[in-house]
Symmetry: D2
Subunit: 343 residues, 4 copies
């Protein structure tokens, strides 16, 4: 029997519907670089789901790539991007943003989230500084939905952030690597339409949400970034067989699959959270999506490690660690039972 693992949400291949569609379309000939019928269909379905009929949609391969490319093309050379200290771009992308020449202006976070007033303060402070001409200027705000801690921005919070960004003329960018797990979450009140209305650029995650790979970048305002196609190529991020991403997103946006694909994960996570609480465990963060952060003492962590693979998150003190439990679209009820038995 395969060892139980809740280490991450990208341990399997793809959702069966996606694989099936890849097989069915395999020998149809199509143009390269996204100029194929599948990509065109996927773009239209995404536009519709986002209620953004003029949106530009591009399919990139992975999250770090998407963040680095889009932040680089959106920012002016003298601008930086505001992000939470816990943001993926801040810590776990090997400096990909700085590699493109831009500074990440870090904010403290509350369970992975930042607020409109924190953003407002930073921008105001930078712009009013006597030395502002010698400083990096904030040009964009980066947020994740759900965040790296599995938490969610409410619509009200997102509206406030968006409004602050627009007041100051800085872009709002949302990293939706795990967006399906937000959309499937009962506590979530932010729809794709809300996101498209409130963000300047965002991406709909595929890699962690059931695709083999792929992230769909959505730019609600058409032609906001001239020559984007060429710049994607220049960053080495243009897929020759764009159809492979196109087919996947076309499937994900057929019959509401993307809205449903995270349900299994969130339901599984809810069961695990309940079991943890019932058994007296302490959760480090109150997250409603597919990631659970549990505080364990060293012995418990070690004994659990024999039975189930979890992800190490951080050490809180000499005798305690935070471990992450991640569910996914592929998590089976049996595995959840087995995990709960181990706890």
């Amino acid at each position: 029997m395969e060892k139980l693992s809740f280490a991450s949400d990208y341990m399997e291949g793809a959702h069966p519907e996606i694989l099936k569609r890849l097989i069915d379309t395999n020998m149809i000939r199509s143009a390269g670089y996204g100029f194929d019928e599948f990509s065109e269909s996927a773009r239209n379905r995404i536009r519709k789901a986002c209620n953004a009929k003029d949106a530009d949609v591009y399919f990139l391969v992975g999250g770090t790539q998407t963040n680095a490319v889009m932040i680089d093309v959106l920012l002016q050379p003298y601008q930086g991007v505001i992000a939470a200290k816990s943001g993926h771009i801040t810590s776990h992308e090997a400096g990909a943003v700085e590699h493109t020449g831009h500074k990440v202006l870090e904010l403290d976070h509350i369970d992975g989230k930042i607020t409109d007033s924190m953003i407002d303060s930073l921008i105001t402070k930078y712009r009013q500084d006597e030395n502002h001409e010698h400083m990096v200027m904030p040009g964009m705000v980066y947020i994740s939905q759900p965040t790296e801690y599995g938490t969610l921005y409410s619509r009200k919070e997102l509206e406030a952030i968006s409004s602050t960004c627009r007041k100051h003329g800085v872009f709002l960018y949302m990293d939706g690597a795990r967006l399906a797990y937000a959309l499937s979450c009962p506590e979530n009140d932010v729809t794709l339409r809300d996101i498209a209305a409130l963000c300047d650029v965002f991406y709909i995650g595929g890699t962690k949400c059931g695709a083999l790979f792929g992230e769909a970048v959505v730019i609600p305002e058409h032609d906001r970034i001239p020559y984007l196609f060429t710049m994607i190529k220049q960053h080495g991020a243009l897929l020759a067989k764009g159809r492979i991403a196109g087919v996947q997103f076309d499937t994900l946006f057929t019959d509401g699959l993307y809205d449903r694909i995270g349900q299994t994960a969130v339901y599984a996570a809810d069961r695990i959270r309940k079991a943890l609480r019932d058994k007296g465990y302490t959760l480090a963060v109150d997250s409603p999506t597919n990631q659970i952060f549990v505080i364990l003492d060293n012995e418990k962590a070690e004994s659990l490690a024999d039975k189930v693979e979890l992800a190490f998150w951080e050490r809180t003190d000499d005798s305690h660690v935070i471990m992450r439990i991640a569910t996914s679209w592929a998590t089976s009820p049996e595995d959840v039972d087995r995990l709960i038995d181990c706890l």
Copy 2:
């Protein structure tokens, strides 16, 4: 009936064996970022095929990405890369190499190829220049096998180039985007083992050779590039589900599939070449692989365009163009018959 197309060699999905393997392995859980069993197996098979047991092997997504990342990490900041004017990095990668900060030092080409003596002259000229400290220093030679014109370096030519590079202490890098079509070509006398022995870094193309996507970078000498994993991540080129590339290359290197996969294409191209010659067409280049460059007068080009999709290559004068005919692993004999009938 679908319109006949010989426009490129990446118009279909993947070779059926690859798709089958993706399906078979789909629900097996594995670690991310290439630390999975499939990638490990693929690396071992490639090491064996290359007779390079210590080689480092990384799977990247596409050709431009692979070229840009590897050239950037191999070169020192003050170095440039020598390449043919016809080289893919020189003209059709949107300046991806320059985007990483390095100059392409261009050489004239002979049907897409450069020679050891051209390389030797350029390096000598640069190094002996009175102003050499104010100049970009050659740090690498970039060649393609087959070249962008479908031609091949012979083993003797490759040995001479390799020897020149080693004499001068510059890296030899081979772009093998279409390498399968070289390996399957009767005229070819350069094996994977030769390439591994003569080049410092090269990649084995997947995207144009039957994979959904993917290029296998081979660095015969272990740990030649410290922190390469992190630098791949930093360039946005690290696949989260590395297994998807791993499974594909594991399949391509099982039972000699990669050696055979180009045969259909080369056989088809040979038939087309013969038909073109028999019908009195002029070929622009004498290429033995899966790409054919034929000179057409304007009327012929227009009348053909109604029946078959070809790729425009360049205009030679007011009344003539060069069109490219590309075959692939997926080209059917029936389509070749139909094309020949059109000519």
Copy 3:
């Protein structure tokens, strides 16, 4: 009468000795790019003063340029530089370090200083992180002497930092933009020889210490950075008439001028500090060099502004600001008298 100003330490031209020497040597012909007799002499005098006979010495133009170029050439692409949040590179160089592709890993500071244990913790944390291969790796520590707050590292502190850096194999880089004001300070116990023994690279500031412009980069270990000349050129930082910097540093290191040039400033600052304390002002930082940071209430700040130009530093609350008073080699006793009268 010119308005009194203590706004910065680079408000005048150059020390008279320097100007005199520029005049005396003006019509002597010499080679460009630092291959002149004056630069050679200056390099030798600096080597002697640093007790570093094999040191490589380069003359660059300004502080931000020197920091950006040297950090970029010292770091590997996947590395970042550790610095205090108050470090000049962190905040007031318009993101010049990030512009070269490197992240600044920020540490909290104590009056502008960081400690060996803070450095040790950060490096250990980064290197031991489960995700360290997805993170920027610390490759260098950046410190300033004196710091941006006018404070000084003691020899003991510097030894501890150096030892920590060497233990971890990261470079120690010192920004000496105002180094003369440290060397002239009675409280200072760190000599040029200590710095050369303890740092991997540092620069001796000219611009803020009596030169028209210029910073002398010292690399105690010969040829530590191959092709540095070319990389300086590539960064646009190579002076055509290198002699102009050479003559200035040759003068600054003749007859101990650099050791003495800050005395006037420190003596003036001491008088001002005493006056401030006597009159009941609160100093924000206990700095012994040429920069004084005084907390003023808004009314006082406004009334002072009519009589003397100071530099705004930061707002501490709604009714108080920190203003910086900077003295220099050119500060006259009369101006100090006038300032004290105003307080």
Copy 4:
């Protein structure tokens, strides 16, 4: 007696008027970063000389720096700069332009010059290419006046180039490192006013034209490049004591000094050219300014080298070389006599 040298035009310090002015203004206190009275006066004098009252004027330190910074800030990331193969940016700036991420699109040259039709052809070819979205797009034309071969663009030629650039919407940038030697040349018919009317950005050279250092960038259209100040800082190209450049250019543009300063050089070069022709030497290029390119056989080159220092330019064949003779504002009639005697 000092050895005779015609090796370059930057072997001395500065024109005596400039030194005098630096001395006279030395102890006047002023703001940093170009916000001083001298820089302001210099900017106004330059605006007047260029008949460009709204022009933005910035003082940078050297030619390579100016080219790299200005080309980088003017181009979009996906754009490259068209230049002659002989252009300074193409060959002798250590890849500084590529270091900022941009490709140099090289054109053949005629004695250092390129033509409007060559530019038109290249732009048309790139824009109409089937693969243009995968290619670097031309965004700027770089020319030098005088060129690296000492030749001059006529007003008619410059008008044609300017008109071609405007037709295609690409910037025209002029490198005026030696502009004084063009303005002082009897054959020249291009004034500063013409240049300001026909170019989008250009710089007036100081380093090679009598200043200690410094280049004045002129952007005739106000605010064409937002945040240029910050981007100059970010590139490490902002002078702290901007006054030092300001005083120098203020002097160069007082009483027409810049118009006259090259006269001595051109008159000396004319005498040398006449002597060379009279004695039967062959000139490689017919250049009317301060640079002379003479073809020498090896023996003659060697025997001359004992008596006078010249600059090696290139080897034309096994037995001949081209040597460059450069005069400057500081060349004395006596030295010209001595040189002619040696020939």
